[in-house]
Symmetry: C2
Subunit: 436 residues, 2 copies
């Protein structure tokens, strides 16, 4: 029998208990031993009738779980940095394996957590931390184990994808789409973590740390959220270029180093990510052998996340039952391995630029001249006819849309700064990266 | 050290050796032991310079590998039913674990192979048998282990997907698209296995046998290929209903039983499978907890398939190194478990029907009357204006397109048979199922 200690009886915690109850016989076959919840811990001491749990069966002190020798695995489902970090570290030191759904704590304390796991020869599983129920951590870590990973791109946050979907489909501005997301339960009342791209960066940090074998920190990741995106750009880029907009996490090899960045990104009309809408997530991985593989599914939700937690519990329990758990680490983390990151200025991308200019001859020539000086090559230019009809624009100010070929970010940024200083430029130029 | 014996030095065999050579240090970390090819076997005794192998190092008798005590794992990459079946069974009996990419032998001899594996406590891994480099077997078997599987649908065959993509994109008939596929290396000179749906049925048999825990035989699967599909239906259904056509393998719960079927299928314009083109495969799985998860990638190709083979070798080797390989089966197969299948006549689907009729009043009323008698409810009816312009049609014969709501196959078939007997019906009615 494998003993489980569950910390955090929120929606995912309750879902986890439900699945293990419901699929008991199937799980027994896969594990070769029975799973049993020994103790439950939560700061709210109240009954959970949906899983037949009375308040008396819940403790508020997690140390009672760590000191219980019949518990093999601690399932941490409280989220946030602390006390989650302390609980995970102390669990490992107390000889317990850990299953967690907590992307924030993993991304921020990757080094400390996996060094402690190595030191105490314990395992940390975390499928639910990225992509909800999509088995992406296992897919990347085991299914594609034969590959050197060249590139990961992902729609990793359901809230922002829901907002961008609504902006695109209903032609409503950011603020209104955010309100709809909050109303539908897809965004929290304080949505900063999601809309500023931080949640996406957490998940990208985890995936790229697995893929490249060293710790990629949040602070290493260039991060731009979707706050303040202008509906006009979504509409114009769709109309003129067939592009759709997604908030992506991107990690890829470039010049022997790794680019890691999070930002709103235009994708061409035939990109497999464009139909990935609302709360869905998708992750595309390119390996040296397998070429591109994509995973897609609901990125959040009680049962989807609980499905991933239970899958972790099953495979960890199997190793506990066999007496092999911890002999080999789940993720190969080598503290000495330095992943060489490419500074964002040196990264390469195609760019969409929208200039707001006086409607006079000669402006385009000045803009393209400055881009040329910085070696930025232009792919296409449009002066949309719809400009004057758009209420946001004064009549004498018109947009010029421009897309570039692959260019170095630093050069594009400098050119744009110089263009912004032109007298004919009436507001700050909009820059959105394009991925193909 | 883990000893490998490789049987079959075709493209996938050579790719497997290449990957293990190239990613040696990474693999060592994941396995905790070194992998070493002890012996190579092939019926063609000739050098393979791309992997530095001389003819002298190749044997033609596979028994030499089975009798070598330093070999732990037999990698069977020859394909086809025999001698693959004998090699796999004898390997297990000789105390070897097996990695295979052979979908045909697994689908046909599932029972015999997994009973033998159980009896001798050996493992059989087969990621490359379905979906090329997509880690779908592991995803279904392990990543979604917490779920009861409700539905699997997949584009499982690259050849037919290539042909349907060309028919759709280039407006060319089946025969011409097949020739293009043969020219591009995506179809064999004898394409029957692919275009008749048999290869898809093999893969569906494997996935559904894993998902439902009992053996689902090829002969259990209703199977219709793409031979003889008329371009007109692809064009009309796209124009009138926005549908796209894919050859799908479908296994799903219905009325407490399982439907398993392979046939060309219309999908609505927003279905995530529609952008899956050319040689790409996609598999969508619905679990009771996770809801829908999709996997997508190249379904074939040397390095994609070899990536899957090497991933199997890594995880099997890990267990061999730990001394646990074979304690628990990889797939849970219970010979006594009878999967209850729903006969195709009782299965439910929506249908696209194309009637070729005399251009006279009253025909539609007769058709809908017969459908009504069989309780088949009509969703929409179109008489395309383009009919007379189509060279295939005689002027006095016009198509009527009709789609149904969910209906029982047997009733639809009977209604169509009766309609075909009407004097006004000028050729056999076309029936294509719709999945939403």
């Amino acid at each position: 029998m494998i003993g489980l200690g569950l910390i955090g009886l929120g929606t995912v915690g309750v879902g986890t208990v439900k699945i293990i109850e419901k699929n008991k016989s199937q799980i027994l076959k896969r594990v070769g031993a029975e799973l049993s919840f020994i103790k439950f811990c939560d700061k709210f001491i109240k009954s959970r009738p949906e899983i037949g749990l009375s308040a008396k069966e819940i403790v508020s002190d997690y140390k009672k779980l760590l000191n219980d020798p019949s518990i093999d695995i601690i399932v941490e489902l409280i989220g946030g940095y602390e006390p989650a970090r302390t609980i995970i570290l102390e669990s490992l030191k107390a000889g317990k394996h850990v299953v967690t759904a907590n992307k924030a704590v993993l991304a921020k304390y990757w080094d400390e957590i996996f060094l402690t796991a190595q030191k105490y020869k314990k395992l940390v599983y975390f499928e639910a931390a990225v992509g909800g129920g999509i088995p992406i951590v296992q897919g990347l870590n085991e299914g594609l184990a034969a590959n050197q990973i060249k590139k990961i791109i992902g729609i990793l946050n359901g809230t922002t994808n829901f907002i961008l979907t609504k902006m695109t489909e209903k032609n409503i501005p950011f603020e209104e789409a955010l309100k709809q997301a909050q109303k539908s339960g897809f965004a929290e009342s304080n949505p900063a973590f999601d809309i500023e791209g931080i949640d996406t960066a957490h998940k990208l940090a985890i995936l790229s740390s697995i893929a490249f074998g060293g710790w990629i920190k949040i602070s290493d990741i260039f991060c731009e959220g979707i706050t303040g995106l202008n509906l006009m750009d979504i509409q114009l880029a769709q109309k003129e270029f067939g592009y759709g907009l997604k908030l992506l996490g991107i990690a890829k090899e470039n010049k022997g180093k790794i680019e890691v960045r999070v930002h709103p990104t235009f994708l061409p009309h035939n990109h497999p990510f464009l139909p990935v809408n609302d709360e869905y997530n998708a992750i595309l991985i390119v390996g040296d052998a397998v070429s591109d593989v994509m995973f897609y599914g609901k990125g959040a939700g009680q049962m989807a996340a609980a499905s991933a937690v239970v899958s972790d519990i099953i495979f960890l329990s199997r190793q506990v039952a066999e007496g092999t758990a911890g002999r080999l680490a789940y993720v190969t983390y080598d503290q000495k391995k330095k992943v060489h990151l490419l500074p964002q200025e040196q990264s390469n991308s195609k760019y969409y630029l929208r200039f707001m200019t006086e409607d006079k001859p000669g402006v385009l020539s000045k803009i393209t001249g400055i881009l040329g000086q910085y070696g930025v090559s232009i792919s296409s230019v449009y002066q949309p006819q719809t400009a004057e009809q758009n209420g946001e624009l004064k009549k004498e100010v018109v947009p010029i849309l421009l897309t570039t070929h692959l260019a170095e970010e630093g050069k594009v940024q400098k050119a744009v700064q110089e263009i912004n200083r032109l007298a004919a430029i009436k507001s700050k130029t909009v820059l959105i990266r394009i991925e193909e």
